[in-house]
């Protein structure tokens, strides 16, 4: 995160805004500590002088948080698609001499092996080697996964672009009053998007 921003996890919203802003928009395993650390680091850097600045700070935080969340979903989609591609390639390239054995593998074993590929690094290495020997490298599997998930990936990319445009719009509003502050905010919020905040806050 930006070195110019100071963590201040004990700060509070002004009384009149607290009732509107005190509920962090957290989902799943996102922690309130990480969110608040980021929020108060941004607030400490912005030093809001009036409620409008407070709302802008909260928006920058929430949009950055949202972009990071979407990227986690994106990574999950790619992994899901890769697993499907691996399963289908294992089915398509099974080389058992006995046709019955091959059919049994396609029906019962290929999916299990694909799941092991997704969850066990040792199995992944072994299956990658097997598929590479059959002409399917890990990068070609990844490329097929992107093609297969293109519509979902595209939808998420568009949302991320939309959040990014709004975040930039808010920073511009702040920039009209204080250019240096806007630069610090951009740097700090970019760090949380890239996932560096949790390490920096510790």
């Amino acid at each position: 995160m930006s070195r110019s921003l100071v963590k201040n996890s004990h700060a509070n919203f002004p009384n009149d805004l607290a009732e509107f802003l005190d509920n962090p928009p957290l989902v799943g395993d996102e922690t309130i500590e990480s969110y608040k650390s980021f929020l108060w680091a941004i607030v400490a850097g912005l030093n809001p002088a009036n409620p409008i600045d407070w709302l802008y700070a909260k928006d920058v935080v929430d949009l950055s948080w949202q972009i990071r969340r979407e990227r986690v979903v994106l990574a999950g989609i790619v992994k899901l698609m890769q697993t499907e591609v691996v399963r289908d390639l294992l089915k398509a390239t099974v080389d058992a001499a006995d046709p019955l054995q091959a059919a049994v593998y396609r029906i019962f074993n290929a999916s299990n092996e694909a799941q092991r590929w997704a969850s066990d690094p040792v199995a992944r290495k072994e299956i990658d080697a097997r598929l590479t020997a059959r002409g399917y490298t890990p990068s070609s599997v990844l490329a097929q996964a992107y093609i297969r998930g293109a519509s979902h990936i595209d939808a998420i990319d568009k949302r991320i672009a939309s959040y990014e445009a709004r975040r930039v719009g808010i920073v511009r509003e702040i920039e009209r009053r204080d250019a240096k502050l806007a630069r610090d905010l951009t740097a700090a919020s970019s760090d949380v998007i890239e996932g560096e905040f949790s390490e920096a806050a510790e």
Binding site: F20, P25, V73, L80, H152, A155
Partner: protein, 134 residues
């Protein structure tokens, strides 16, 4: 004109209805709630009037205005809309996280967020326009 017999039959049948039972029906039904909830503008939702009033006062004070102006009220309505949208987004993601995260779940997530994004962009623009007017 509906006869008394038909009316009674309609009422009997309506009482038997317990809402959608299939997964796809339930998903559609959830979508309706989202659509209808956001289609009602903030100024027409009596449950949000108090919040809009409070936020209008906050904006008016921030702009050094003696009383609540139309601009402050417009900015407040947009802000309350943004807060409402943020809560809905959290509930959409919560539902996704609790799901099996299958492709069908993902398609539903994308569709619901696509609708939400449209409302959110509009609310952001409304607030920016209001706050930038003098």
């Amino acid at each position: 004109m509906v006869s008394d017999r038909q009316l009674a039959a309609n009422q009997r049948n309506a009482r038997k209805s317990t809402g959608p039972s299939s997964d796809s029906g339930k998903r559609k039904s959830r979508g309706n709630a989202l659509r209808h909830g956001l289609a009602i503008s903030v100024d027409r939702d009596p449950l949000l009037h108090a919040d809009v009033d409070k936020m209008s006062q906050i904006f008016s004070r921030a702009r050094n205005e003696q009383s609540i102006t139309l601009i402050a009220q417009e900015a407040a309505e947009a802000e309350i809309d943004l807060l409402r949208i943020s809560k809905i987004r959290v509930s959409i993601f919560e539902a996704f996280h609790k799901s099996a995260k299958s492709l069908q779940d993902l398609a539903q997530l994308n569709e619901e967020l696509r609708k939400l994004d449209r409302y959110e962009r509009r609310a952001f623009s409304r607030r920016r326009r209001a706050l930038n007017s003098s």
